[in-house]
């Protein structure tokens, strides 16, 4: 019964024999990232190779490890060649690494991402730092290799589009050791050349070739440049740190030159259009003013200047009329008064003046006549005098007195014979 149960050792040996007889597993090429790295004192290297999905244990014996041309560290991107087998003691499958090299592109990619993230967090890529590329530069600096397609493309493009502009080349190493420092040196040197814009770049190449443009020193030099920088590294698809930090990224060196300068013929057209617009504008303005002047000249008032004072004259006439009528009235009134006076009785018949008095006088005379005692005599009354005194009472006379009686037409002398007092 026990015969059908295998020992652990037996199944492991079986599995190992299956692994070892598989030709695919005998020669495996593997890429990944080193983790759990341990360099044993024996010289053997124990580590894992992992990617984002899986992990495999790896061992590199001292004899092979001695041949390594780099020092593997945790996180290194590596390319390994080896065989995959099972280590019986643990039952784990693992790769027995024969040879291992750095995965340059992978490492560069990591470095790229790390630097990009760091510089971004420092704000080196922020829009607010981007300088404006002048529209019409007069002096352009170019930091690139003095030979090769890039410099030719840039200079010939500028020459074709905008031949009135000066270019100054700052010949620089653009790949390999020392390139980054050389680029930095040239960017710094360019600051003293009174440039309007600086093109920094190179033609296409492998990621390793373009690498200097991903170096931190280059990024910082571009950021520090007071001259606006156009980056032009490789082809359209190549993005470098220099592209992120520069003020403008051109897809290619030719593109950079196109972005740096306008097209001269466009500009000549622009200026001649300005000239046309200017002439049109001034003519329109003059015509407008002329029309305005004409309209003034043709205005009713100018054409009929009389109208300007006609209304005034009308007013004046009215006033004159009014004045005349007032004066006339006054004269008429005066005349009327004069006539009244002239025709008055006093003047026409001055006797009228004293006729009244005559009448009055006559009246007074009449009245006086009435009062005249002599008048009374006429009516038959008489006055009696004694010794020239009018006798008013019987007491004034005595019997036998001689009296005189005055009548209207003479005097009678008489003697009192009696006197008798009236009873009334």
């Amino acid at each position: 019964m026990n015969d059908k149960y295998l020992t652990v050792g037996a199944i492991t040996r079986y599995l190992k024999s299956r692994f070892d007889s598989d030709t695919n597993l005998m020669n495996v090429y593997l890429k990944g990232e080193i983790s759990n790295f341990k360099a044993h004192s024996s010289g053997h290297l124990y580590f894992s190779i992992k990617d984002e999905y899986s992990k495999i244990n790896a061992i590199m014996f001292a004899s092979n490890a001695k041949k390594l041309n780099f020092k593997p560290v945790e996180g290194s991107k590596v390319l390994v060649n080896g065989r995959i087998s099972i280590y019986e003691a643990t039952g784990n499958y693992q790769i027995y690494v024969n040879s291992m090299e750095e995965d340059g592109v992978g490492n560069l990619y990591i470095a790229f991402e790390k630097l990009k993230k760091q510089l971004a967090s420092e704000g080196l890529f922020d829009e607010k730092h981007k300088k404006v590329i002048p529209k019409y530069p007069s002096k352009i600096g170019v930091v690139t290799a003095s030979t090769g397609a890039a410099v030719k493309d840039i200079i010939s493009t500028i020459k074709r589009r905008y031949p009135i502009c000066e270019t100054i080349l700052f010949p620089s190493l653009v790949q390999g050791d020392g390139a980054a420092d050389d680029i930095v040196k040239n960017i710094e040197m360019a600051q003293d050349y009174d440039l309007d814009v600086l093109i920094v770049g190179r033609g296409g190449g492998s990621i390793e070739d373009l690498w200097p443009f991903n170096e931190e020193v280059v990024a910082r030099a571009i950021f520090a440049s007071k001259i606006p920088v156009i980056s032009a590294v490789g082809h359209e698809i190549d993005f470098t740190i220099a592209d992120f930090v520069s003020d403008l990224r051109a897809p290619t060196p030719t593109g950079a030159a196109e972005m740096a300068v306008p097209n001269l013929s466009d500009l000549i057209t622009l200026i001649s259009n300005y000239k046309i617009r200017l002439n049109e504008a001034i003519l329109k303005n003059i015509n407008y003013q002329k029309l305005y002047l004409d309209s003034l000249k043709n205005s009713f008032v100018i054409k009929n200047p009389m109208i300007m004072y006609k209304s005034k004259k009308q007013f004046l006439d009215m006033m004159i009329d009014k004045l005349q009528s007032i004066m006339l009235n006054k004269v008429n009134n005066a005349r009327y008064e004069f006539n009244m006076l002239a025709n008055s009785h006093v003047l026409t018949d001055p006797s009228y003046l004293y006729k009244d008095y005559q009448n009055q006088l006559a009246n007074i005379i009449d009245k006086l006549e009435l009062l005249n005692p002599l008048g009374v005599l006429k009516r038959g009354y008489s006055l009696t005098y004694i010794n020239d005194q009018v006798v008013k009472s019987i007491s004034s006379v005595e019997v036998d007195d001689n009296i005189k009686i005055k009548l209207s037409d003479g005097v009678v002398s008489a003697q009192v014979t009696d006197k008798e007092k009236s009873n009334e």
Binding site: S138, S146, I155, T167, Y193, I271, Y274, K275
Partner: protein, 72 residues
């Protein structure tokens, strides 16, 4: 191109003058003044654009600036 007045500034000034003139809000005396000024700018710009000295390419060397030409 001279450095004293930048071409860019001249073009900007020119644009400003033209826009003012086109707005029709400038009186005749002023507009003639502005027109004269703008025409002067046009001439200067034109002169700069047509002033084709063959392009000066220089290269920075250890011995200073030297003429540099690319073989086409």
């Amino acid at each position: 191109m001279s450095k004293e007045v930048k071409f860019e500034d001249q073009v900007k000034e020119l644009e400003k003058l033209i826009n003012e003139l086109e707005s029709g809000e400038v009186d005749l005396d002023k507009s003639i003044e502005k027109y004269t000024q703008a025409m002067k700018l046009v001439k200067e710009c034109d002169k700069k654009l047509k002033h084709i000295e063959t392009q000066v390419n220089k290269i920075v060397t250890e011995d200073g600036l030297k003429d540099f030409n690319i073989e086409e």
